[in-house]
């Protein structure tokens, strides 16, 4: 594990009486690509703005590289931000935009010129020095915003939904571009997004947030394969989230039928939530399944078919490369490893909220 770089301790923040962050603790390590992921209003942007110095927390401390920077203004912090809507200076050309931070810090002209060249090359926009920001496309403007930030050699780059305003194709391109950039300059990226696919693609470490709380932290694989609660499971990818009862270790009762699983330590006859990813629901012939059901919908998605199967009174979402026509009776089989058991939320605050994202 790399060295600790930023530590948020017990951060709370409210706006007009609405609590946005509630006693949040977060540690970010050097050279990580960390993504704060969650629906709008979950507190991810506020967390980023507190790190950037644009908001002061009501309680708690921000520790940067061992120093308390809670009350330091943004211009005194060793980090730079890439804003959602680029926030380029429209009265300056591209070179002046990139040079802004360096001029403020009184760097010599030759150093500034070299840096401009280097940064434009890094973002693939060589020769754009004397263009005006308004003559650039959205994707190009965002690259300039990134160039303008990284020439200052920050220890951390904060990115606030930087790809939000771009179209899908460009967004995917920029995702790879950002990973390449991060590897090339080797600094910490803290990235805010509500797009789970973006988070899974780019991050080393994902922090899933909802309602001012961190719901789960971990690698993209951890978050996707082992969601800790129904909110995370629902937010990251498609999933079947079902009420169930843990009968004993390695056996769970789902809607009246017992399924073998691999999870232990939940106790006996304990109500739980079960997550099964649609690609882990296997459709087999009726006699081979643990349960049987009837196909009610089917959509061709390219790589796979997306089907809905009614069984035990529940609509199971299934992704499969095999096609089963609507109305057919099928068996459902789930590998014990693919049944993810989660504790029910203990308080209302942690309650999983169904989302339309």
């Amino acid at each position: 594990m790399e060295k600790e770089l930023i530590r948020l301790e017990n951060i709370s923040k409210s706006f007009d009486g609405t609590l946005v962050l509630d006693e949040l603790d977060l540690v970010i390590h050097e050279n990580e690509f960390v993504t704060l992921l969650g629906p709008s209003g979950c507190g991810k942007t506020t967390t980023l703005r507190i790190i950037g110095g644009f908001e002061t927390p009501d309680t708690g401390r921000v520790i940067f590289d061992g120093k308390d920077i809670t009350d330091l203004p943004p211009n005194k912090r060793q980090l730079n931000t890439v804003f959602q809507k680029y926030a380029l200076f429209t009265h300056m050309d591209i070179a002046e935009n990139i040079a802004f931070g360096l001029k403020i810090h009184n760097k010599p002209k030759s150093y500034i010129d070299d840096k401009i060249k280097y940064a434009l090359k890094l973002v693939g926009l060589e020769g754009y020095e004397h263009r005006k920001p308004s003559s650039l496309s959205g994707g190009q403007q965002q690259r300039i915003a990134i160039a303008r930030a990284i020439v200052n050699e920050p220890k951390v780059l904060l990115l606030d939904e930087p790809l939000g305003a771009l179209d899908l194709k460009l967004r995917q391109e920029m995702q790879y571009e950002l990973i390449r950039l991060k590897n090339e300059i080797g600094i910490t990226f803290i990235y805010v997004t509500h797009d789970q696919e973006e988070a899974l693609t780019m991050s080393d470490h994902i922090v899933v947030m909802n309602q001012g709380y961190i719901q789960q932290e971990g690698s993209p694989e951890d978050i996707y394969n082992e969601p800790e609660n129904a909110f995370v499971a629902d937010f990251i990818g498609d999933s079947n989230i079902i009420d169930a009862v843990m009968v004993r270790d390695e056996l769970v009762n789902i809607l009246g039928t017992e399924f073998p699983c691999v999870d232990k330590g939940f106790g006996e006859m304990k109500p739980v939530d079960v997550v099964i990813r649609p690609e882990d629901v296997e459709l087999v012939s009726p006699d081979k399944g643990i349960i049987t059901g009837e196909v009610t919908h089917i959509i061709f998605k390219g790589v796979h078919y997306e089907m809905e199967v009614t069984a035990l009174g529940f609509e199971w979402l299934v992704h499969s490369t095999d096609m089963f026509p609507v109305g057919q009776t099928v068996g459902i089989w789930v590998d014990p490893y693919n049944i993810q058991i989660m504790n029910k939320p203990e308080s209302e605050d942690e309650e999983a909220i169904p989302l339309d994202v």
């Binding site: 950037g52 110095g53 203004p73 211009n75 809507k85 926030a87 380029l88 200076f89 303008r148």
Partner: protein, 275 residues
Amino acid sequence: MFKNKKTSAALSAPYTAWMTIFIIVPLLMIFYYGLTDSQGSLTLANITAIGYGVYFKSLLLALWLSFLCTLICFILAYPLALILARVSKNAGQGLIITIFILPMWMNFLLRTYAWLTLLEGNGIINGILSFLHLPTQHMINTPTAIVFGMVYNFLPFMVLPLYNAISRIDTAVFEAARDLGAGRRQTLFRITLPLSVNGIISGVTMVFIPALTTFAISTLLGGSKVLLIGNVIESTFTQVYDWHLGSGLSIVLMIFIIINMIISNISDARQEAEG
């Protein structure tokens, strides 16, 4: 908007007629009188008169006082516009603006008369001064009094364009400047001021032009002691009855106004090009 040219011609006819009768014809008359003498022969004497004596002095004084007025308005208005643009709507922004333009609901002459009672020899300000056993000041009928009156009357015309321009700047731009290391002062001078230059130019135009051409304020607060070019032109028409000279001097004043408007148009066009 209208595909049929006849329709749009018909719709614009009333205003075209109005404009022709009350704007274009008078303007042509001013040019005719300004460029001829009483015998009707062509001359530039009415225009070159501006270079002499009372005309020249009154023009210089008018330029100087309207410059001062514009400068004071700018210094008063810019910080206010900054605050207004940052105060959110629900925090009483509307109320502040209303209070600010409230004096404009009163008649212009009435407002200026109010300054008369404040500034005159045994007016309110001197009353307070003598009550405090301080020496009374001679304020009425001085250029200073005129500047007071101008600033009071024209300040709202400076605040509103500045406020519009500043509030249109995305707040993320200020944050970006701070993020890149700029302090508050550097952000103001390198980002906010240059990005609001259009508002500054239109505010300056809207204060400078009426200040330059005023004769009501200078008549009331300057008595007949302080003559601005506006007063001179007025008396040339109404007392000397020399329409030729009056028109000539008006043309000179028009040139200053046109210069000001050209600058403002150039900056508008540039802003549009930058998006």
